[in-house]
């Protein structure tokens, strides 16, 4: 709490007005895990305020607290100086806090006008009669004109591109006489021209005195639109800054920070670094040429050699996971080629990639990894069984053997191999999923955030085991939002910024400081 008050004077915008919205000392925990700890935020009328932070920094939790999805454990929300505690998104909306989410949640089959007034159609006869379509269309046209948008409001929403839909959503949000507008990653599926259109609208709303909270992970956009920036890290507010006074490098620095466990995990990984053989000796296992997909990754070249760790380094949304998904056939590339050991291949499904000897530990354990109701054994043998095919069932004894072996080797803590995987802790689930891929004896393993949300010990056990396999000739594509971890683990790494590759570096070419410069896009050596 004291932290929040002491900084209050720092960056008040000119005019010194009262904040439209103020959060003081917000705490929120989920089953013992602290998601937000003493977080403050001040949002002034007439500003675009960007909320930045890495994955798991607490951005979405904070938004959900603001919009009434979550109730904070402690702390206050002040709307124009008055304490509020919204119990639902509807309540927050009625109070004047409107939110536009990343996924446009409107009804594509209804007209633009209907979408804007859904649930509160203007009615004839003083509000009790039939719907007054004419008034509705007139008011919708006027509202959109305010955003400088001149479209036919009688057409269904779905005929318009996503950016327009987004703006209809904004128009809907501001039409409920909102004083605070929250935009949760509105630009992630827009192209450059559409982003500009959106920003124009945001600027005019700002000039009308609206307080806008903007959440994004694009650095360029942040600097283009923001007046002020609040950085969150690990559920704690890192600080509140005027955008003009915070350099890109400082911003990245504050987002990434120095991980608390850098000493423990970092040293262990550094040990591995010494043992890993010189990277360039291994034969090339995978070759990607101009591999890309619209909205995911600009065409990019890279190689993966046998026995090396190839890191993908960048902020959230920089194209790390997207690259992994392209390599695994989870998404279809729309440009470029992949060859395995010199032979061109085409991956249209993950199945193809698995057949070529690739494994993929996804970053989203719950959605894309664990089959929660199935046992640890079934989860571990699943990929191997899928590769063997329907008919060549792995004998039960062999399944038990494989599961028991990996439970032992990876130190998976489970009552029994027949326990449903959903009953295990996150770290142990992660180990079991790693076992799923190791059981297929892959030539190449994609590790996307293999250590997210698990304790240091499990993290180290996982990395130790994988590194040992790498030394025996397996290639690893390593992705982590903890940049020091990528630096220490990778023999080579590709730095990504805003879905573009911006340089490949050997181990030792970058250190904790210079890598951030590359990520931030500030000229450093050949990175330009």
């Amino acid at each position: 709490m004291s932290n929040a008050t002491s900084e209050r004077s720092a960056t008040t915008p000119a005019g010194g007005a009262e904040p439209a919205l103020e959060l003081i000392g917000i705490h929120k925990s989920f089953t013992g895990v602290k998601a937000l700890s003493d977080v403050g935020l001040r949002l002034y009328p007439g500003e675009v305020h960007t909320l930045m932070g890495q994955n798991g920094a607490g951005k979405s939790t904070l938004i959900k607290v603001l919009t009434g999805v979550y109730t904070p454990d402690d702390g206050h929300i002040l709307l124009r100086g008055r304490a509020i505690s919204p119990g639902s998104t509807l309540e927050a909306q009625q109070l004047g806090i409107s939110t536009v989410y990343q996924e446009v949640n409107l009804c594509p089959n209804l007209t633009v006008a209907e979408n804007i007034f859904i649930g509160r159609y203007p009615r004839k006869w003083g509000g009790v009669g039939p719907i007054d379509w004419a008034t509705m269309q007139r008011r919708a046209t006027k509202l959109l004109a305010r955003l400088d948008l001149h479209i036919d409001v009688q057409k269904p929403l779905s005929v318009y591109p996503l950016a327009i839909q987004q703006m209809v959503a904004i128009s809907r949000a501001v039409s409920v006489s909102a004083s605070v507008l929250i935009l949760d990653e509105p630009t992630s599926s827009l192209d450059e021209a559409e982003v500009q259109l959106l920003f124009k609208v945001l600027r005019s709303l700002r000039d009308e005195g609206m307080a806008i909270l903007f959440v994004t992970h694009f650095l360029d956009q942040t600097y283009e639109i923001s007046d002020r920036i609040t950085v969150l890290r690990n559920g704690v507010r890192e600080g509140e800054y005027a955008a003009s006074e915070l350099s890109r490098l400082d911003l990245v620095n504050k987002m990434v920070g120095v991980p608390v466990d850098a000493t423990a995990a970092g040293e262990a990984l550094a040990d591995n670094a010494d043992i890993t053989p010189a990277a360039n000796d291994g034969e090339v296992f995978l070759e990607a040429r101009a591999l890309g997909r619209k909205g995911a990754l600009a065409p990019q070249d890279f190689d993966l050699r046998a026995g090396e760790v190839f890191g993908l380094c960048g902020l959230l949304g920089s194209g790390r996971t997207e690259t992994a998904r392209l390599l695994f056939g989870a998404d279809k590339a729309d440009s470029g080629e992949i060859s395995i050991k010199g032979k061109p291949v085409k991956f249209t499904t993950p199945r193809d990639a698995i057949a070529a000897g690739i494994g993929f530990c996804s970053e989203d354990r719950k959605k894309e990894g664990a089959i929660l109701d199935l046992s640890v054994r079934e989860n571990i043998i699943l990929a191997l069984q899928a590769r063997n095919g329907l008919l060549h069932v792995i004998p039960r004894k062999r399944q038990q053997q494989i599961a028991a072996d990996y439970v032992k080797w990876l130190g998976i803590k489970t009552a029994d191999i027949e326990t449903p995987i959903g009953l295990l802790s996150g770290g142990n689930q992660q180990k079991a999923l790693l076992a799923r891929w190791l059981a297929t004896d892959p030539h190449m393993l994609i590790l996307d955030e293999p250590t997210r949300g698990i304790d240091v010990r499990a993290k180290q056990e996982i990395m130790d085991y994988v590194m040992a396999l790498c030394r025996k000739g397996m290639s690893i594509l390593f992705i982590s939002s903890e940049i020091p971890e990528v630096l220490r683990c990778s023999d080579r790494m590709l730095v990504l910024r805003d879905r573009h590759g911006c340089g490949e570096y050997l181990r030792g070419e970058l250190d904790d400081a210079s890598v951030l410069q590359v990520i931030a896009g500030e000229n450093v050596g050949e990175a330009a």
Partner: protein, 362 residues
Amino acid sequence: MNSKLVSDRNQSSTAFAAGRLRRVLHHPLSRPLGALAVLLLIDFFMIPGFFRIEMKDGHLYGSVIDIVNRAAPLMLAALGMTLVIATRGIDISVGAVVAISGTIAAMLIGGTMVVNNGVPEYVSNIPMGWALAAALGVALLCGAWNGLLVATLGLQPIIATLILMVAGRGLAQLLTDGQIITVYYKPFFYLGSGYLWGLPFSLFIVAGMFVVLALLMRKTALGLFIQSVGINPVASRLAGIRTAALIFFVYIFCSLCAGLAGLMISANIKSADANNAGLLLELDAILAVTLGGTSLAGGKFSLVGSVIGALIIQALTYTIYSLGVPPEVNMVVKSVVVFLVCLSQSPEFRRLRLFKPAGSGN
């Protein structure tokens, strides 16, 4: 749980027995089996000679045999439906496929009785084997259509199969001109009312299908893949499972089961009734699967449970008729019983702990 059991054991042997009882009660099949047992118990007291089984002309006769025999088409449909539901899907075109397959078989067989030298002989339009194969073939096509819509085009299962539910019965009615087509061909009747080794032949079809399925589950990875896809389709695809092919297959299989059920029903009534054959059978099948403990949310499934579920439904119908419940309240009674069974399976309801055993609340 384990430590609790141990401490129970130390307290007294009765507590241990209670713990074991609780484990039995927690078995997924305990509830459907319990419901069936209660029904049969009511029958035992209310219907004289309910469990009596007689031997007549080398066939077994009795209420129980009758229930099992009449449940045969439903059991088949429920087996197919189980796999569909396990993948998070649903197939409401089962009744329509029943009508189509029965109609095609009846039309192709047709049949006339020819008296040859004083010996009656039955002659079919085309050989019965071909007719049956054609009927089942069309059922497979129906399944392929459903599978195409759900697995390839990604339509919602209930909508995708709604198309065939409406169109399929219409097609059957078109074929028969809305008339009931009577079959005069004795070998065909064997499917619906024949006896083998003293037991209704239809039971052997159901048992055969059950054994085939059980072997598929045991000897292939089908069961694992179906559950996996039902629980988490995204993760399953990333693990390398051909989710689309698998979903395609379960719809084909479900339609095949429906087609077989259609043959049985048609053979039993010795005709094809495109208007009423298998009407609403899909809903009974879904109910049977649910009663058997398979969740409509997909994932874990129980084939035995679905068979028991089908038996519950048939036993209930039989009981209602036998007790002389007036036809007007028949449906109400049925729905009340179904409501009670479903209630007993609701986790929310069980959380109310109405049946909490004394002394377990430490």
